[in-house]
Structure formats: C-alpha cells, structure tokens
Symmetry: C2
DNA sequence: TCCTTAGTTCAAAAGTTATTGAACAATTGG
DNA sequence: CCAATTGTTCAATAACTTTTGAACTAAGGA
C-alpha cells in the first residue's frame, strides 16, 4: 500500500508554486517545516479544514512532490520532501517558508500537540 | 493615467505564489528578469499568447505586486518590482527565477528583439 | 467479531481562472 | 483630421479548483 509520488526529477516548478499559492496548503507546509523530522498525520491539520478537505489538499501537495506520505497502519505519516525540493530548486522552499513567516497577513502556525499517553 | 499597484507592504505571499504558478506568467517574469533594467511593453510577449490574454496575465502580475507598469504614450512599460519583492520576501524571486532556469520542462526564454529604426 | 480510528473516494455544487473575439479608448504620426 | 498602433474592457464560455456530505475501506483494539 503505497501512494503515488512523483520522482524528484518530475517535480514541476509551476505546479509547486501553484500548490503553495493556496493559504491552506501553505499553512500545512509551514507547520511541517516547523516540526521537521517529526512525521505528522492528517489529524494534526484538522484546524485548517475538514477531514475531506485536508485529504484533498494533502493529495495536491503529495502529487506536486512537496510532501511524502507513508502509509503506517491507518495513518499516513506526512513529511516535507525537503531534500528533493532542494536538489531540484535550490533555496526555493527555504525562501518560501521564510517569506511566510514574514507575511503578517498569514495565520500563525499552530497545530495540535501530539497526544502522549499518560 | 496611472494603473493601480499594491504598496510593497500589501504584497501577499500566497497571491504572489499563485500568480507565479502559471506557466505564461512565469515565462513573462523570466523574460523580464533576463532583460532587467530594460522596460518592456506588452507586444514583447506576444509569442506567449494573444493580446487580450497577455493583458489579462500582465494585470494579474501587476495586481499581485510582481510587476510595475508605467504608462508612456500608448505603451505600458513593464518592469519587475525586484526591490519591493526582495524587501518583502528576501531571496524568493531569485530562487524562483533560478528554479525556472533549471526546470527543463519550461520553454526557454525567448522574446522579440527590440526593433531599432534603421 | 464488533467498534473505533484514520483517511479516501465519489458526486454535486459553488466558486474561480483562463481564453476568446468584438468593441472601445488613447496616443502618435502623416 | 485620419489612420495606425497599443493596449483595455466586456461578455461569453470553457476549464479548472475548492468545498461539502455521505458512503466507503482498512487497520487496530476490546
């Protein structure tokens, strides 16, 4: 059970830009970047939209090559494809993330804390 | 006769990304960047679309704050707002332009040579 | 097995963007 | 003034995107 992802060399600049040009998806990417190394599942983004809507936006990010989704049990562990993006378009992701941090019109990155069993 | 432009501080990241996420507009920006300092008019982009269509795309770029259009006679002299973009989103424009140069799926930047009267 | 959790898929509706041609306006040159 | 050049606006259409809810699948725990 693996989901379709483009290869690094298939990642297209206009598609990446268009995909990042949506506030919901930009917020997802910012949140992923702020938790780099920690794979997140879909429910961590539920404050950004409904479950169905997030499924849609996360699929767009994945199909564009911005994120990777690994199937683990019933969860999809989502990570930024930082290395592939950096190889393909050096500096782009970092400047987008830095720019998002500067854009005061954008909502602050929040997200749910991971529930630790007591 | 001046056309409406956003102030530098009104330039929005998602809007800029969405606007650059269109192949025609990305090609316009690449061409402007390759001719930095030389103001271009609309007809220099006619190989990218019809006159009406370019008017539409150039308006999108201008309204997003990516380009500036100065009315001179019957022409609009179009320039990249490099300084404003750099101030607002450091490194972003350069990484997009560099990435576009790397993306082999994108058409090479062409454009018409300026006709010099003989 | 049954229930819950996690997420997808589908179809419909709503909204947005891109493209076109015809008509228009403004400036410039003859 | 007349014609050509430059570009805009408008209305129509086509195409795409986003959002929604209901129905679904698949895995895991009681």
């Amino acid at each position: 059970m693996t989901l379709p992802h483009p290869n690094a060399d298939q990642i297209s600049l206009p598609i990446v830009l268009a995909v990042l040009g949506d506030p919901t998806r930009l917020a997802i990417v910012r949140y992923l970047a702020s938790k780099e190394g920690v794979p997140l599942n879909c429910s961590q983004f539920l404050d950004l939209g409904s479950k169905t809507n997030l499924s849609y936006h996360l699929a767009k990010l994945r199909e564009a090559g911005v994120t990777r989704a690994e199937v683990v049990g019933t969860s999809r562990l989502i990570t930024l494809r930082r290395d592939d993006l950096e190889a393909r378009f050096p500096g782009l992701l970092d400047s987008v993330i830095a720019a998002a941090a500067e854009d005061t019109a954008l909502p602050a990155v929040g997200g749910h804390d991971i529930e630790m069993p007591a």
